[in-house]
């Protein structure tokens, strides 16, 4: 698949912009056109933060509502808030130990529009990887592991070396692989 629209949702300070940069870098290294959008300024102080990554031919940096192939939620409430972006047949990947964390109405909506729900215990996996702050990279790993996305794990591992601070690299790489294994 050469095109893919991703929305990453979470809270200021969770490393959402970096996660989007990694996905964009992966697409770019595979020779695909990329666009994206980031939250800066006031909202970064603990507010809701969204990042968009668009791979393939498009004009706007923003994913159209109801068209995202993938919503990656670093926090489940923020995942629900980003739900209007998710398209039919898309996947909501949410940092959660079990699907029951999401209200029944949300799960019913996902079923009704043929979307998939993939709960991933990302906080726990990041801790296993050696740094809870690598939570963002767990979800990047999931995006790489899911079938049909243009993101490959090996390219992501290379991209991480260029974008992540050296002292965070080991945990980030481990988090990436743990995420990919959960896809």
């Amino acid at each position: 698949m050469g095109s893919c629209d991703v929305v990453i949702a979470g809270l200021g300070g969770q490393g959402i912009v970096l996660a989007s940069r990694v996905l964009m870098e992966v697409a770019l290294r595979q020779g695909l056109p990329v666009r994206g959008a980031e939250t800066h300024g006031m909202a970064q102080r603990g507010g809701s933060v969204l990042a968009h990554v668009r791979v393939g031919a498009c004009q706007s940096p923003e994913v159209l509502s109801g068209r995202a192939d993938l919503v990656l939620a670093l926090e489940h409430h923020e995942g629900i808030r980003a739900l209007p972006f998710l398209g039919p047949g898309g996947t909501l990947v949410v940092n959660a130990e079990s699907p029951e964390l999401l209200p029944l109405a949300v799960r019913a909506h996902l079923d009704a529009c043929g979307a998939h729900l993939l709960p991933v215990p990302a906080t726990r996996l990041a801790q296993e990887a050696g740094d809870v702050k690598a939570l963002n990279m767990v979800l990047v790993g999931v995006a790489c592991g899911l079938p049909g996305t243009p993101f490959t794990l090996e390219t992501a591992a290379t991209a991480l070396q260029a974008l992540v601070k050296p002292r965070a690299l080991t945990a980030s790489l481990a988090a990436l692989r743990l995420g990919a294994a959960r896809a």
Binding site: R35, H40, R45, P61, E62, S65
Partner: protein, 624 residues
């Protein structure tokens, strides 16, 4: 003008793309004041110049007016100069901007102004394109980072050919959008500064200004003629007539193209892209409108194109309520606007699915509100706690523009208006109450160090000389934090990281006639409360006046770890009264079942919450 593409393709932020375009077009000097969403332009320009070995003078100016005036003088000398600011910064720079249209420039001058539809980080949703009309200056409105890069070069070209400043108006979604862009090599201009003395132009008297105004009007007509053919004003699609045409510009144009493509309507709706809307290329625009039964105008954040069109009888847009008159024109809003018009034009059978059902479902779930808050360990929080403790419920708390507007949750921010207004409004609050012998409540004004130098200096001079009495708290965290850690004038650090002359905040205040000034470490909450008490007492003493308190502690993001670590624990003395949550509100504290809980991941161990609990339930961890 740009040479063959260099090998590199980078995913550039829109602001980086603007910087790249400026440098590729030969920018020699750049001046800016930080402000979201414009802040990343100057650092990127400095970075590209360093990487490419291009000599560039760059400065974080004291404010936007100062920045524009410095850039104007450089352009008077034939240099290529740029000035960068956010949209409300242009209000501050309005005075030199309006004059600059009359007097013009010799070297190119590009005024980059970032608008903030939404607004995401601003006081207003003002439209800089309207400012361009008011100032009689040409304006460009890119739809994407790549177009912003291209327009930056065109802006320099236009500026020099017509001897006028040109406004490059970006908007938040372009500024903080990213796109893969192939880099060109920079143009390196070898131009010495040559100031050709011409007092009738550079120092024109009112009589000459009338002549300049006539010349300006003629120049605008010439520019409008050029914009009829400009590559950024172009028709997409080839329909000669029909039920519906759309004129669009900026981010709404990009969204429109994607929406039509997503609904398999690409190329089926005639579109006039208008990236250079002022001076209006009237023949192009009115000729387009005449061919269609209805013409929808999509622009943001306000009306410009539809205001400038002579006959609006066929035009739908903001003026008739077809397009919402406030807020960002996002995909959902655009879907609601387009659906009925496309259906009416029989291009679709029924209006598009708007996604309102899922939005209603999400809205009904009562998700936690995510108001931005000061960071865990932010020194401002401790300062606001101390201020509130002393000023109490009767106090009046004028504040200012920066992270510290978030002090409103602690009841220590009553007004936020514009840069520097905390100081002048404190003066006004004092005189309003003291007028005719009235009682004056405690007045504590709060302003950040960078904002103080931006707009607070004349206000403080005025406060002192007008005999006002209030406490001015200058929150000194050593950095311009909210906009992304730009150095302040006090540090003397230049945009390229080199050390230049610095300013002494205390000496600045004393030089403006402030008789009472104390510096305090806000992490010492008890001492800070005492200093606030002493300051308030001074404002009420027989010979009192303005008291300045400077809580000084580096921003925790800028310089993490510059304090002794004090992990805290909550003892069983906690009765869940909630004072620490309501009056202090550190995000690392939350209400547990039996007592307040400390989030050890978010807590930075500053220990400032310890004295906040009157029951003594927050203690250093080794005692707990």
């Amino acid at each position: 003008m740009p040479q063959a593409p260099a090998a590199r393709v980078l995913p550039l932020l829109g602001n980086e793309a603007v910087a790249r375009g400026l440098l590729e077009a030969g920018c020699q000097l750049a001046f800016a004041y930080p402000g979201t969403p414009s802040s990343e332009v100057l650092p990127a320009l400095v970075r590209f110049a360093r990487e490419e070995g291009v000599p560039l003078h760059s400065a974080w100016s004291a404010n936007e007016k100062v920045a524009l005036e410095a850039a104007l003088a450089a352009a008077y000398c034939g240099k290529r100069a740029a000035v960068v600011m956010k949209q409300v910064g242009l209000n501050v720079a309005a005075d030199p901007l309006l004059s600059s249209a009359y007097i013009g420039v010799r070297g190119g001058l590009v005024v980059v102004v970032a608008d903030d539809p939404g607004p995401t980080s601003s006081q207003t949703e003002q439209d800089t394109r309207q400012f361009a009309y008011f100032a009689k200056l040409p304006v460009l409105d890119p739809m994407s980072p790549a177009e912003a890069r291209d327009m930056a070069g065109y802006a320099f070209d236009l500026s020099e050919r017509f001897e006028t400043p040109v406004i490059l108006r970006t908007s938040q979604r372009v500024c903080h959008g990213r796109q893969d862009i192939a880099l060109y090599s920079p143009t390196v201009l070898d131009r010495p500064a040559v100031f050709a003395r011409a007092p009738q132009r550079w120092a024109a008297t009112p009589r000459h200004r009338l002549r300049l105004h006539h010349a300006l009007n003629t120049r605008l007509e010439s520019i409008a003629a050029e914009l009829e053919e400009c590559p950024f004003n172009r028709e997409l699609g080839s329909a000669t007539a029909g039920p519906l045409g759309i004129i669009a510009a900026g981010p709404p144009l990009a969204l429109l193209l994607d929406l039509l493509a997503a609904h398999r309507l690409a190329g089926r709706v005639p579109i006039l892209a208008l990236g250079a809307p002022h001076p209006l290329p009237r023949r192009l625009v009115e000729g387009f409108i005449a061919r269609f039964k209805r013409v929808l105008v999509l622009e943001e954040p306000d009306q410009v194109i539809e205001l400038l069109v002579g006959d609006r009888s066929r035009v739908r847009g903001r003026h008739d309520g077809t397009v919402p008159s406030a807020g960002v024109l996002d995909a959902a809003a655009l879907t609601r606007v387009l659906g009925p018009l496309l259906a009416e034009a029989e291009l679709i059978d029924s209006p598009w699915e708007t996604g309102d059902a899922i939005r209603a479902l999400v809205a009904g779930l009562d998700l936690p509100a995510r108001a931005p808050t000061l960071c865990p360990g932010c020194p401002h929080r401790a300062s606001f706690f101390a201020i509130q403790r002393v000023g109490g419920k009767k106090g009046i708390y004028p504040s200012d523009i920066g992270c510290y507007t978030l002090g409103s949750s602690q009841g220590a921010v009553d007004t936020v208006h514009d840069m520097g207004a905390s100081v002048s409004m404190a003066t006004g609050f004092y005189h309003a109450h003291a007028h005719a012998g009235g009682a004056v409540p405690p007045i504590f004004a709060t302003i950040g160090d960078s904002t103080f130098y931006h707009g607070g200096l004349p206000a403080l001079a005025d406060a002192v000389t007008s005999g006002a009495r209030f406490v001015l708290v200058i929150l000194d965290n050593r950095i311009t934090a909210m906009t992304g850690m730009q150095p302040t004038l006090m540090s003397g650090v230049q945009p390229d990281g080199s050390q230049g002359p610095s300013l002494d905040l205390e000496a600045t205040c004393r030089g403006l006639g402030v008789p009472w000034l104390k510096i305090v470490n806000p992490y010492d909450v008890i001492a800070t409360v005492q200093v606030m008490r002493d300051a308030l007492a001074y404002t009420r003493a027989a010979d009192g006046g303005v008291a300045v308190v400077i809580p000084r502690q580096p921003c925790v993001i800028h310089q993490p770890g510059q304090y002794p670590r004090t992990p805290v624990a909550i003892t069983d003395r906690c009765n869940l009264c909630g004072v620490c949550l309501d009056q202090f509100g550190c995000p690392a504290l939350s209400r547990g079942a039996a007592r307040i809980e400390v989030d050890s991941i978010r807590c930075i161990q500053c220990g400032t919450c310890i004295p906040v609990c009157a029951r003594g339930a927050i203690v250093p961890a080794e005692e707990g």
